[in-house]
């Protein structure tokens, strides 16, 4: 039974393979989605955040100049302190942002330079604060001491010069800070670009892999379809064709292989063989029946029924051509039957039939016409031409002894012959032959009597 599941197993393997390829494709797609999600969130959480931080850093660095200007413009301690608060806040935020950037995986390189510049800038702003503080105090003193405070004016002048110097340094440092921050912003941006490009490349690569997987899936599908077509559909169709023929031919069936369809083919072949065997038997029986219907069972000569049917079929031929009809009757047959029994009678009949069959021409249509009576239509023969043949047969019969159960019997037969009566029906000729037979019996049996031709024969019809 194990050999019977080959097809199922192979189809299962193919289906499993197809499923595997499809699942792998889905798996690769899911994996890819997961990776893109990760990459995207990395981009958003690291790079974008770093870029935002760096942008804030740049903005705050640049705003330092504005805070410095606020400090420069301060003409009382309130404004000065306010400016210094702002500078302090900005410095603290910048430091925080720098720490954040340093910790970010999206950045690399050192921030030492940036730190240093910031340090210098803040120190410079503190120095500026001290100068502005002095300026405010000096101004206040000048106001309290009166306008002609030459010393105050001089000091103020010096202060203004030093403030101007600080402001210049401040400007340079701010620019340096901006450049230092810009370097990092640029680095992050280019990294972001690289990451996006890498991600794109990775997506393209995965697209190719997915396409390849889809291709393999199609291929496996194609193989499956071809396989199913070759090993299932075509064989089933072949089976269908083989059994749909007028005459099914079991030998045309392909029964090779060990799978389910091969099993089915073998069953069908067996079945078809059985059917044709039966058919052959029926045909033989038919032939036998046919023979029995047209022949005499004892002598195997045609029977009277066949003889008459054959005459009907040859009507046209008989009208055209010459023929003769012979009627034969075994002499004293009843006596043989009564004396030696039916079996002996049958043997006699058989022997006579044999001799008649041998003695008459090949083309003669010989039949057993009654119990011990025979008839023969001999085409192409005139009665005169036939007579010697019949005479020879009569003599052979009369001469030869028929041995039945050790008893030798002498049997004779009477022959009546009639030639075709022109323009008359066959039945007339048959009747004439019968009359001639009667004449032979009347004349003492064991002889051949030929009905002589009469004047009236040529005129058609007959006088009986």
């Amino acid at each position: 039974m194990r050999e019977g599941f080959g097809l199922t197993a192979r189809l299962a393997v193919l289906t499993a393979l197809l499923t595997l390829v499809i699942l792998s494709t889905i798996g690769v797609a899911l994996l890819s989605f997961g990776e893109y999600r990760q990459a995207l969130s990395r981009l958003s959480s690291e790079s974008t955040r770093a870029l935002m931080t760096a942008s804030r850093l740049k903005q705050q660095s640049e705003s330092m100049v504005g805070s410095g200007a606020l400090l420069l413009l301060a003409d009382d301690h309130f404004s000065r302190r306010q400016a210094m608060f702002e500078i302090g806040d900005r410095e603290a935020w910048i430091r925080e942002l720098v720490v954040e950037l340093e910790a970010s995986p999206a950045t690399q390189g050192t921030f030492g330079e940036l730190d240093e510049t910031l340090e210098q800038l803040v120190d410079n702003l503190r120095a500026l604060d001290t100068l502005v503080q002095q300026r405010i105090d000096t101004q206040a003193q000048r106001v309290s001491r009166g306008l002609h405070d030459a010393d105050g004016i001089l000091r103020l002048h010096h202060l203004e010069e030093r403030i101007a110097e600080q402001v210049r340094i401040n400007r340079t440092l701010s620019m340096e800070l901006g450049v230092a921050v810009g370097f990092h912003v640029n680095h992050i941006r280019s990294q972001l670009d690289t990451s996006v490009e890498r991600l794109n490349e990775e997506i393209r690569r995965r697209e190719r892999v997915l396409a390849a997987f889809a291709g393999v899936a199609m291929l496996v599908l194609l193989v499956t379809v071809l396989y199913v077509n070759r090993s299932v559909v075509r064989r089933v169709l072949q089976l269908h064709r083989a059994i749909s023929r007028q005459r099914p031919a079991p030998e045309e069936l392909d029964v090779s292989g060990r799978d389910e369809i091969a099993r089915m083919a073998r069953s069908m072949q067996r079945y078809m063989h059985d059917i044709s065997d039966n058919e052959r038997r029926i045909l033989a029986m038919n032939r036998e029946l046919d023979f029995l219907a047209s022949h005499d069972a004892l002598t195997h000569l045609y029977n009277r029924h066949h003889f008459e049917r054959a005459l009907d079929a040859r009507q046209a031929e008989l009208q055209e051509n010459l023929y003769s009809v012979v009627m034969v009757d075994i002499d004293h047959f009843k006596r043989i039957n009564d004396t030696h029994g039916h079996a002996a009678g049958d043997q006699v009949i058989c022997r006579v039939a044999e001799l008649l069959d041998e003695g008459l021409p090949e083309a003669a249509l010989l039949a057993r016409y009654g119990g011990e009576e025979f008839v023969a239509l001999v085409p192409g023969y005139s009665a005169a031409a036939l007579e010697p043949l019949l005479e020879a047969t009569r003599r052979r019969l009369a001469r030869s002894a028929i041995v039945v159960d050790g008893v030798s019997l002498r049997v004779t037969a009477s022959f009546g012959v009639a030639q075709k009566i022109p323009a008359a029906a066959f039945s007339l000729c048959l009747k004439a032959a019968d009359e001639a037979l009667y004449e032979a019996k009347r004349r003492g049996r064991n002889r051949v009597v030929v009905r002589p031709l009469r004047q009236s024969d040529s005129e058609g019809g007959g006088d009986g």
Binding site: Q60, H77, F78, R81, Q82, F85, D89, A92, W93, E96
Partner: protein, 493 residues
């Protein structure tokens, strides 16, 4: 029928796909506070920022104080007071669990309260609960508090962040990993990233609408205003003194509420420092500061001025705001009288709050105007707690006392003002013993007057609490009767 159900299925699918996207945006919240907490155990610090982060979110008390300042049941479902006012019986809620799975019952509650009263445990508000003589477990979920004297405010006090329920198993690590019974469980605290909270799945009450919340701390004004301008912050409880207040009030995505806290903003004076032992110097400070002008730091609200350490909302409030009018001349005279005619040189230590920073600029100018040289010392919040609050290394500082009804701090022997006055302590003992509200209020009035007369500190104004929040966020408290950001009451529309 089949068609209809397939349409329904399609709708269902569409909803399934649509809902999570919406939910992500609407179930999280970023709250920004100005001061980074020193740690997250509200029973161990006076820093209100710890309470704002954890109280009512992570930790809960037996009672709670609602947005109107009323006492409501919390972990205690109800309570009863004996006629003499000396015995409180609390019936505790059943089936309450801490975030680590521990059970809350009367034993745990008794442990929490005994710990609150123990001097060794170091609860800075311990003295508020002095009336409790004994904590008795009267059943698995029943607790009796025996008082040494009646204290009608006890249920209110039990709703303060200092009296939250803690479990002995998690108590030692609450500072870094707080474990309470509240609707939100602590997820993590990364310096710079803030404190992450997430709705506690086994919370005994109704599940909160907001699933995840992050508290961030931004003391840098520029950074804070930057964060608000970028729309990164969903709720900031105190936008009162922001420079960008006006600009933000015009933004379509933000809403600013007008409200007040219970916080008295004061310029605290270190009485242990030499010049301030002299009342004349303290009074000179009070006259020197132009408090009316100081209110300019609030562009959109005018908070009430105060003259003592008491909230104008309290029935016992006495208006002493005009006790020391702005009078630089008088200030100079008082300083001269005290022997400081040549001026003084002082340091004003400024914590990183908006109101303190802005006020310090005005106050510095005011003090300089009367001959006091002022150095502004800006410190971080942990620094302030260490240097000013613990070590008392300061001359002057500006700070808001947001705990409600905390005038008793002047009766403490050991508080960062270093103010020790037997007269006030005696007065406070009387107040505590006072049964009748009228008598009590009268005594409270006297206490206010005493502090004003002594010019213990320079009392400035009641701290406004103008919360700024994203439009669509509902349930934000407009007033702050206690320092708390109650996430449970918030919801995105």
């Amino acid at each position: 029928m089949a068609k209809r159900s397939s349409v329904m299925a399609a709708w269902g699918l569409a909803l399934l796909m649509a809902v999570p996207a919406l939910a992500v945006a609407q179930q999280s919240l970023r709250v920004d506070l100005q001061l980074e907490p020193p740690h997250l155990d509200p029973t161990r610090t006076a820093s209100a920022t710890t309470a704002e982060t954890t109280h009512r979110n992570v930790f809960q008390g037996l009672t709670r104080i609602d947005r109107h300042g009323k006492v409501r049941p919390a972990l205690a479902q109800r309570w009863e007071v004996s006629e003499d006012g000396l015995k409180y019986r609390f019936w505790l809620r059943q089936g309450v669990r801490f975030h680590d799975g521990q059970r809350f019952d009367a034993e745990v509650a008794a442990y929490s309260l005994r710990r609150l009263l123990s001097e060794a445990a170091g609860n800075p508000q311990r003295l508020l609960y002095q009336a409790i003589r004994e904590v008795e477990v009267a059943g698995s979920h029943s607790l009796v508090l025996h008082l040494s004297r009646p204290d009608s405010l006890l249920p209110f006090r039990l709703g303060l962040s200092a009296a939250v329920m803690v479990h002995p198993a998690s108590e030692p690590t609450n500072a870094s990993r707080p474990v309470g019974t509240g609707p939100y469980a602590f997820q993590g605290w990364e310096r710079g990233e803030g404190v992450a909270l997430a709705a506690f799945a086994e919370y005994w009450g109704e599940a909160p609408a907001i699933e995840r919340a992050t508290f961030t701390y931004t003391s840098n004004r520029l950074e804070l205003e930057g964060g608000l301008a970028e729309g990164l912050i969903d709720l900031y409880p105190d936008a009162s003194s922001l420079t960008s207040h006006l600009a933000l009030s015009h933004r379509a995505d933000y809403r600013i509420l007008d409200g007040f806290s219970e916080g008295e903003v004061i310029m605290a004076v270190n009485h242990a420092r030499e010049p301030f032992a002299d009342r004349r110097v303290r009074r000179a400070l009070a006259h020197a500061v132009n408090r009316e002008a100081l209110l300019e730091i609030y562009p959109a609200i005018t908070p009430p001025l105060i003259g003592s350490h008491f909230s104008p909302g309290h029935p016992a409030y006495v208006d002493l705001a005009d006790r020391y009018p702005h009078d630089p001349q008088r200030a100079r005279e008082l300083l001269a009288d005290a022997g400081h005619a040549e001026g003084l040189s002082l340091t004003l230590t400024v914590p990183p709050t908006q109101y303190a920073e802005l006020s310090s600029l005005y106050i510095a100018s005011d003090l300089e105007a009367v001959g006091i040289e002022v150095a502004l010392q800006r410190v971080s919040w942990p620094q302030w707690l260490e240097q000013v609050f613990n070590d008392r290394e300061y001359d002057l500082t500006i700070v808001a006392h947001v705990e409600p009804m905390d005038i008793d701090i002047y009766a403490r022997d050991d508080y960062y003002f270093n103010y020790r006055d037997p007269r006030f302590q005696a007065l406070w003992t009387q107040i505590e013993a006072a049964q009748e509200p009228e008598a009590r209020h009268a005594l409270l009035g006297e206490a206010q007057r005493h502090l004003a007369e002594e010019a213990v500190n320079v009392f400035l104004f009641l701290k406004p609490q103008q919360a700024i929040h994203k439009v669509g966020l509902t349930g934000v408290w407009s007033n702050a009767p206690i320092p708390a950001v109650v996430l449970q009451e918030l919801e995105w529309e």
